[in-house]
């Protein structure tokens, strides 16, 4: 579905992505893990068109999307949920979701879509009339994902959905991401919480200083000593485990 071939991206003069190749097949949940500054967010921003690749190919459903404007890429079905849960705080949950449905262009369809999402995120349904700013961090994250899903994307790019969340809340967010995948959504997930990301994903790429240094089945990487030492913390277990 998505295919990057040797993508190089620069921030002015800084060479950030040094030849990234990766792919995501339909229905897959693929994780991109690595330390801070490895280039994970830059990779997502390059895919969604917020950054222009200097070199390389970005293919989505067989068409080259490198260099297209972000809104064109959204229309093709790629939806990017940036880090930091950027919801419209002064608007209600429902209004936030409606904003996400602008591509549907039809009030009936938007309403129907909000109902569909209620089963996935019951909490959003419960809080639909509350202002988004009054939601907890985890709820805001689910709202951000829910808003992205309103447009019925074919590929979801998630950037650090667990950032700044209490462990128990992060756990809930990861659970809903896993459920999304189970329902057939294709997801590329960027995470610093490598263990959680590997636990829910099918495959993963490990980034270091703008390059991919390892890739494979998530289960394999989860048991990989070098990954354990570098990203999982030896003997360290998450609170909810």
């Amino acid at each position: 579905m998505l295919r990057l071939k040797s993508v190089h991206t620069y921030y002015s003069n800084i060479h950030v992505l040094k030849g990234i190749s990766l792919h995501v097949r339909p229905g897959e949940l693929v994780a991109l893990i690595g330390a801070n500054g490895a280039g994970k967010t830059t990779t997502l921003r390059t895919i969604s068109g917020l950054l222009k690749p200097g070199k390389g190919k970005t293919e989505f459903l067989g068409a080259d999307i490198a260099g297209l404007a972000p809104n064109k890429i959204v229309r093709k079905g790629v939806c990017h949920v940036p880090e930091g849960r950027q919801v419209f705080a002064k608007m209600t949950v429902r209004a936030n979701l409606e904003m996400g449905g602008y591509l549907l262009k039809d009030a009936k369809r938007i309403k129907k879509r909000i109902q569909e999402l209620a089963s996935l995120f019951p909490i959003l349904d419960e809080r639909k009339d509350q202002l988004a700013g009054t939601l907890s961090g985890g709820e805001q994250q689910m709202l951000a994902i829910g808003r992205a899903l309103m447009g019925q994307p074919r590929l979801l790019l998630l950037d650090e959905p667990s950032l700044g969340l209490a462990p128990i809340m992060a756990h809930t967010v990861f659970k809903s991401i896993a459920r999304l995948r189970d329902e057939g959504m294709t997801i590329l997930l960027v995470e610093q919480n490598a263990r959680a990301a590997l636990n829910i994903s099918d495959r993963a790429y490990v980034m270091e200083t703008g390059k991919i240094i390892m890739q494979g089945a998530s289960e394999e990487l989860l048991n990989h000593n070098q990954i354990k030492r570098a990203y999982l913390g030896k003997g360290y277990r998450e609170v909810w485990e």
């Binding site: 040094k18 190749s21 792919h23 240094i213 390892m214 494979g216 394999e220 000593n225």
Partner: protein, 437 residues
């Protein structure tokens, strides 16, 4: 016929190439960072891993040889710290230092999976009883097949080599259905069966996977007729992983290379240039999933050609033709690689000066044998038979200890080895077939 790992053995070519590119880039990034040899050789041509933006760029990288691996003895080319290495094997090469190869836990898992592919392609299932008559030791052959057969869930009988009488008893009593060994050993087993007057049709044996030596269709026919089985070829080498690089499917029209783990190229052995598709030349392999011991553009010395046309079996992995010979002067005797020129120094260790010598490789009753004709110089001339015998024994022991093969030694008169114009044949190989040039 079932396929072990359909998701990877039957990929669309385009998808496979994307996967190869991803894995190759990650391999280069790791090798460049962790292996001094690769950093040095890439730096020398001004190459950094991010320059590889297409599979075709691989052909610009330097080729490596067994000598390079040998110079890295023992661990210089490992790409992970030794604490990540869970297995160490050694190649059968007889160069000064053998190549030492390491495996991480992941490497071993992949290795087993790769061999499971070729066992499955040959028709082995979990119902089978697999007798592995390769040497269990530093060589990779036995262990690779062992893990592969175990992954499939077959019953593994690790008989190792030797004691053919016992092998035959086990073959019959344990109701072995699949035999794994060298082709010459398969013929040896056939002979012992014939001598014991055991009709192979009364055995449960139905197929065999043979490798570790060059063999041809004639030998295949002999094995199939005399053991009453289907004989399958497979290809692998310790330096790259061991068995599991390529194997025949039921079509027997070449061996499918596991291209999602190895990138295969065919080069002109003289110029080192890549040859056009379909041409016959030297096989060059690059590992793209190995962690402990990656090899980048390793010259195998084996002559073959590559065909990526779709195979009726459903696999999309390209096939190499049966190995038609060796590019360098290596001769393989009983699965052991021998560099004829390296035998001289071994003899010298006993005789003091390097004698003129000639290797005589013969096949008697289906078993390969190594003989060495050594010219007697004045310095070695003894009038006492006893001292001559001691010399012969000393030479035999030295060669055996170094090469792992016991040769026959013949002392011959000075000047009796006819060396035509300096390029005298150092090796006389009387085994028939084109595969033993």
């Amino acid at each position: 016929m079932t396929i072990w790992e359909r998701s990877h053995e039957c990929m669309a070519r385009e998808e496979l190439e994307q996967l190869q590119l991803e894995r190759l880039q990650a391999t280069l990034n790791r090798a460049y960072r962790n292996v001094h040899f690769y950093k040095k050789s890439f730096d020398a041509i001004g190459f950094v891993p991010e320059d590889l933006d297409d599979l075709a760029v691989l052909s610009r990288l330097p080729l490596i040889t067994r000598e390079d691996l040998s110079r890295a003895y023992p661990y210089e080319m490992f790409a992970v710290p030794l604490r990540e290495v869970v297995r160490i094997h050694s190649s059968s090469g007889t160069s000064k230092n053998p190549s030492i190869v390491g495996y991480t836990a992941n490497d071993l898992k992949h290795w087993g999976g790769l061999v499971a592919r070729l066992l499955t392609a040959a028709g082995v299932t979990r119902e089978d009883v697999v007798q592995i008559a390769f040497n269990y030791g530093l060589f990779t052959g036995a262990f690779g097949f062992h893990y592969g057969a175990e992954q499939i869930g077959a019953s593994v009988v690790p008989t190792s080599v030797g004691n053919t009488g016992r092998q035959v008893t086990i073959l019959r009593d344990f109701r072995t259905t699949a035999l794994v060994c060298t082709p010459s050993y398969a013929l040896r087993i056939a002979r012992v069966l014939e001598e014991a007057d055991i009709d192979p049709k009364t055995l449960s044996l139905k197929l065999g996977l043979f490798g570790g030596e060059c063999w041809d269709e004639e030998i295949r026919k002999a094995i199939e007729e005399r053991l009453y089985i289907k004989a399958h070829d497979n290809y692998g080498l310790s330096e790259v992983i061991g068995p599991g690089v390529a194997g025949e499917c039921s079509q027997k029209t070449g061996m499918h290379v596991s291209e999602d783990h190895f990138v295969a190229e065919i080069i002109d052995p003289d110029s080192g240039e890549n040859l056009p598709k379909g041409r016959s030349g030297e096989l060059v392999l690059t590992s793209i999933t190995k962690e402990a011991f990656p090899v980048i553009r390793f010259r195998t010395g084996d002559v073959t050609s590559l065909d990526d046309a779709p195979c009726p079996c459903g696999r999309t992995l390209a096939r190499i033709s049966r190995i038609s010979g060796r590019c360098d002067d290596i001769v393989i005797v009983k699965g052991v690689n021998i560099y004829p020129r390296r035998v001289g120094p071994i003899l010298k260790a006993v005789t003091g000066i390097e004698p003129t010598y000639q290797l005589v490789i013969d096949r008697e009753k289906d078993m390969d044998s190594l003989g060495i004709r050594v010219e007697v110089s004045e310095a070695m001339f003894f009038d006492k038979m006893q001292r001559q015998r001691a010399l012969v024994d000393g030479l035999r022991k030295k060669v055996r200890d170094t090469l792992g093969l016991t040769p026959q030694i013949w002392l011959v008169e000075a000047g009796s080895i006819r060396r035509e114009e300096e390029t005298a044949p150092m090796v006389v190989d009387t085994r028939k077939g084109p595969s033993h040039r």
